[in-house]
Symmetry: C2
Subunit: 113 residues, 2 copies
DNA sequence: CCCTCGCGTTTCTTTCTGGAACTTTCGTTT
DNA sequence: AAACGAAAGTTCCAGAAAGAAACGCGAGGG
């Protein structure tokens, strides 16, 4: 099965993953939950390259997790805000955060005192 | 940043995703939560190709989410069972299941009567 | 002795990703 | 007014990863 065929899978988990199961998409959502909205903020977050970011944002908008909203007209500028649908994914990220804190401590020394 | 550098990221979500944020890994975990343990069961689940499956299982064992356990000696056979650490990811999958059921209904007709 | 099962591994081709520069549309500076 | 800079993408190319499908291999069975 191809990844792209997953959206019609019988399993709701698979369908969800067809939308957010991508390498970087959940990291974009994390940034959204941290309050970021602008392309340059996501880009500066140190994650993916710009064209991957653009692609993922487009897909998140298509599926209704984010909304692309003009926040300036004269220089046309858009930002991305979570919809209610997107907000409902926050608990999943929270679980991953707790799991990571518990099971994957940072190996480098003393970054967190 | 490369995906492989994510495991030392400051963010616990990013570290978790460096382990399970892969396209197919969460689908393998779903199968585990449904009680599957054997290579052929995962393979028959209709997801990834065999060499991707082999690779992901290896990584899940390395990181301690699954345990590779001999269930037969004379023909050497191994299966994969969740560890306690792996079990703790189940709530995240449950959330994704509920989210998928709510927001991504199957488009094909009448599969679920 | 050849077949099959379970569990992968190899090979080859196609698609995706990483990195970095480039574009476009304005607003600001000199 | 010409140059500069910021925001939000796009484009190009080399290299990495994924998909398809055949192959390997050790044990048991007919």
């Amino acid at each position: 099965m191809k990844w792209s065929e997953l959206n019609d899978n019988w399993c709701p988990v698979a369908r969800t993953l067809s939308v957010v199961g991508d390498r970087w998409t959940l990291l974009i959502l994390r940034d959204c939950f941290l309050g970021k909205t602008k392309f340059e903020e996501f880009a500066a977050s140190g994650g993916m390259t710009r064209h991957i970011l653009a692609d993922r944002l487009k897909r998140l908008v298509e599926v209704g997790i984010l909304e692309r909203r003009a926040y300036s007209v004269s220089p046309k500028r858009y930002d991305y805000v979570l919809t209610a649908k997107g907000e409902e994914l926050r608990p999943a990220l929270t679980i991953m955060k707790e799991w990571g804190k518990k099971h994957l401590p940072i190996r480098r020394a003393a970054l967190e005192g």
